[in-house]
């Protein structure tokens, strides 16, 4: 569902551009809104959310899609935690559909999906592993890297039980905006994937904006 935001970027309390292949880590407080902006188009933003005070409680893809009875995320979707609490709600979406079944790329899944010799290509899971090891104060490890949201990614499921990766339906300037219902740690990998159409074979920067 396409729904525009009334928030003005000039009033944002935080703005940061995240190049492809980098991670983004920030606490967004309950009541704040966070926008992920696809600056140049067709860029996948692989995103995980944690309870900022207890990262064992975290975004749960399966609980989220089951609670809303639909496998796609868009405006109105409430993002559920592993403890079945609402973490955030998608309040605006100019893209219309986001994936949460396709997971993130990893060095190891690159070997199976594309070729064994692709194992040294940069991948989202490596960005997250760097994020948690560079921030030991979070107390997080690989155990915390769970099933994520792929903002701006298009992974249609068919009635016959098929699943495909289609060209992105995002474009330059499209965004998704979420309002936090609890204090959340946002961990994004701006996807470096070069082997499939999720980034149009051309990974580009995203911008993250926060409003109080």
């Amino acid at each position: 569902m396409i729904k525009k935001s009334a928030l003005n970027p000039e009033n944002a309390i935080f703005r940061e551009t995240v190049p492809a292949g980098e991670y983004f880590l920030k606490v967004v407080k309950a009541g704040e809104s966070v926008r992920i902006l696809d600056l140049e188009g067709n860029q996948a933003a692989d995103t995980l959310f944690y309870n900022a005070h207890n990262p064992t409680e975290r975004y749960s893809a399966v609980d989220t899609i089951r609670a809303q009875g639909n496998v796609y995320l868009t405006a109105g979707s409430k993002l559920m935690s592993s403890e079945n609490n609402v973490m955030l709600e998608i309040t605006a979406d100019t893209c219309g559909r986001h994936d949460t079944l396709g997971g993130a790329c990893a060095a190891e899944s690159n070997t199976t999906r594309y070729a064994l010799e692709k194992k040294c290509m940069h991948a989202c899971r490596d960005s997250w592993l760097v994020a948690v090891t560079e921030h030991e104060e979070l107390g997080m490890t690989k155990r915390d890297i769970t099933h994520n949201i792929n903002f701006f990614m298009n992974v249609p499921v068919t009635a016959e039980g098929g699943l495909t990766f289609e060209d992105g339906i995002s474009d330059a300037g499209k965004y998704v905006e979420l309002k936090a219902e609890m204090d959340v740690l946002v961990m994004i990998s701006n996807c470096p994937q070069l082997n499939n159409p999720c980034n149009a074979y051309n990974p580009t920067p995203i911008e993250v904006l926060v409003w109080s």
Partner: protein, 242 residues
Amino acid sequence: MLETTVPLYDDLLPGGAHWSFVMRKDHVLRLIDETGHANIGMLMYNPENPLERYNMPDTLKNQHTFKLTKGHVLLSDMGRVFASIVRDDLGWHDTVSGTCNAKLVEQRWGKKTYQDAYNHCHRNGFSSFLNELAKYGLGKKDLTANLNWFSKVKTDNGGNMAYVSDHSHAGATVDLRFEMDTIVVLHTCPHPLNTALDYPSNPLRYQFFKAQPVASADPCKISSPEATRAFANTALYHTMQP
């Protein structure tokens, strides 16, 4: 697929229960829906390093599928094959719906504690998984998207999910051939989208067999280039093992 037809072990797990064990490489775990309408929640871990675990997204996207059936492989997050589905009587098993929790069970079927009903209490999948995971030093951080054997959840073109009741039947069988040593954690608690009036309590018969050696043209191994590469990763993992 089986080296012998007599199981090495045969057991019946009651409905609304949980259990776990280690499957060894080159053995088959047979799951039988004993009385119909079973749901088996399942998670998998590498006993040598439990940070390696069953990965729903990798399993689905590598095989371009939303459902699981014969010919598919169950992948770890390290690009290897825990198990191959070498037999399936149903054609569709769910792995995207998660598991029921205490709140959901209480809302749908009422609370029934151990004090109320002893071992016929209403257990839930979330607590059942945690109970078994703790036996291996694992916990909430290790919970991932689970398998729901014998259950079907389909979608329409808009992505709306629908639970298919009456999908399974008495005697329906799934054979999983393990390609690695694997901690198997399972429960027989209801599927989280099951809306049956009474708490669904359906037993699982499960059996262990020795598997026949995996042929070079094994149907699961050659089912897709992705599966073939996952088998290559698994073979590499075992290269230096006795």
